[in-house]
């Protein structure tokens, strides 16, 4: 039986996490979501692979949450890591307690 060699942490995610290390052109396989995708970079285990087309400025979704912003276009099968993703800045993160409201002024619901 062919075992999954990657994991998707949430159905909406545009990345999956490699459970093995992959050489170029090896296939990422997740039975439940019908994923069968050739990686186009070398991917170490524990690292992320793009499974939905991501444009520069798009959110990187893991656990169904925004874990960063793409700094360039990322294609299917590409390695997703520090070279093409940045963390959120302060205003995006909304860390200021004083400004925080669930609804209304100062909230950036996008992140």
């Amino acid at each position: 039986m062919k075992l999954n060699n990657a994991i998707q942490l949430h159905a909406e995610d545009n990345v999956v996490v490699a459970l093995n290390s992959f050489e170029m052109n090896e296939e990422v396989y997740i039975k439940e979501i019908g994923l069968n995708l050739k990686v186009v970079n070398k991917i170490p285990y524990g690292h992320k692979v793009c499974v939905k087309k991501i444009n520069a400025g798009d959110k990187i979704l893991k656990y169904g949450e925004c874990m960063g912003i793409a700094t360039e276009d990322i294609n299917l099968g590409q390695h997703v890591h520090v070279h093409n993703v940045r963390g959120l800045n302060e205003s995006e993160r909304l860390v200021s307690v004083n400004d925080f409201q669930l609804e209304g002024v100062g909230v950036n619901e996008d992140y």
């Binding site: 999954n4 942490l9 524990g46 656990y63 949450e65 860390v95 669930l102």
Partner: protein, 385 residues
Amino acid sequence: MKTIKGYPRKNGTYGVRNHVIVINTVGELAGITNRLADLVPGVVPVVQQGGTSQFPEDAMQTIRTIKGTVGHPNVNAALVLGMGENDFANQIASELNEEHCKVKSLVLNSGTTLDKIFSEGSQWLKEAYEESLLDVRVDIPITELTIGLECGGSDAWSGITANPAIGVCSDLIVEAGATSILAETTEAIGAEHILARRATNNDVAKQFLTIVKNYEQRILDTGEDIRSANPTPGNMVGGLTTLEEKSLGCIKKGGNSVLQQVLKYAEKPATKGFVFMDTPGYDVESVAGLAAGGAQIVLFSTGKGSPTGSPIVPVIKVGTNPKLYEIMSEHIDVNAGTIVEGKNSLQDVGEEIYNLVFDVANGEKTKAENHRNQEFAIWRLAQSI
């Protein structure tokens, strides 16, 4: 409704263990506490090293933690050892006696000899222990259960296997009408906005952001900056790209439920459902706070095999990777490493943990209990005076 088999207490709570404990209010009595427990086989020593000279906030926290431990539903009877004129042992005993908890205090002072403490203490403990053996478990609704969520010795797999699997279990616990407490404020730094958005209202969201901000400020005051130091170079080699991602991996132990309340360290929830307790990342202090806040069982993910247990609550260890289970299975109750091997899904392992929570609640011993890992330490904010 699902039920577990536990011990009903006179104050309306339910225990999943029936411990008789001896605990000290001040570190000076640590040795005496251990010796007294040794005199009566079966009695559990709960030993702490904190002193009397503490800043007011710490003194309150210490009293709250010890009172929560002594009056814990898993505790059948407790002997509290104190020292000196103004010791809070008598106060805790009388307050808990009013709540019908079986508690006795003994205070070492100029009028008491060690001999008296040992003879009177061991006699009381012996009788309490023998009486505790007569208790039987009864069916209790699952809604009376509170679990705590913790991690210690994380690795690159923690956020991918054990933590989200614990999150699946936590959501099942909450759906069943019981209570789940996420802890470790330091771990939320960088993803606090995400958890805040899951709060039931603005006040809870603000309280959560406030404890994270305060914790971060205390760390900044020592000259360390968690936000810019994370993810660490080692984290990045392991595949973590941003601070949000690292922190999400930690807070996903809390699943996707609505955040109902923010608790002080060792504070009891006033509501059912998913809540957060302000605790440090240090696992022994965090587990002690969760227990003192009323958690009867703690779920604990580990990538490196931390042996941390608790003197009063069963700690269920969930290992993050297959290698760990191979080498350290003596510490691990659930092997989430099967997810890495592609054999199991997060849902599978989450349900396995959920089922084990019932077994452990019904009396099955965890690895940490079998090893008698009975660590206990109280979180301190300031230095000793």
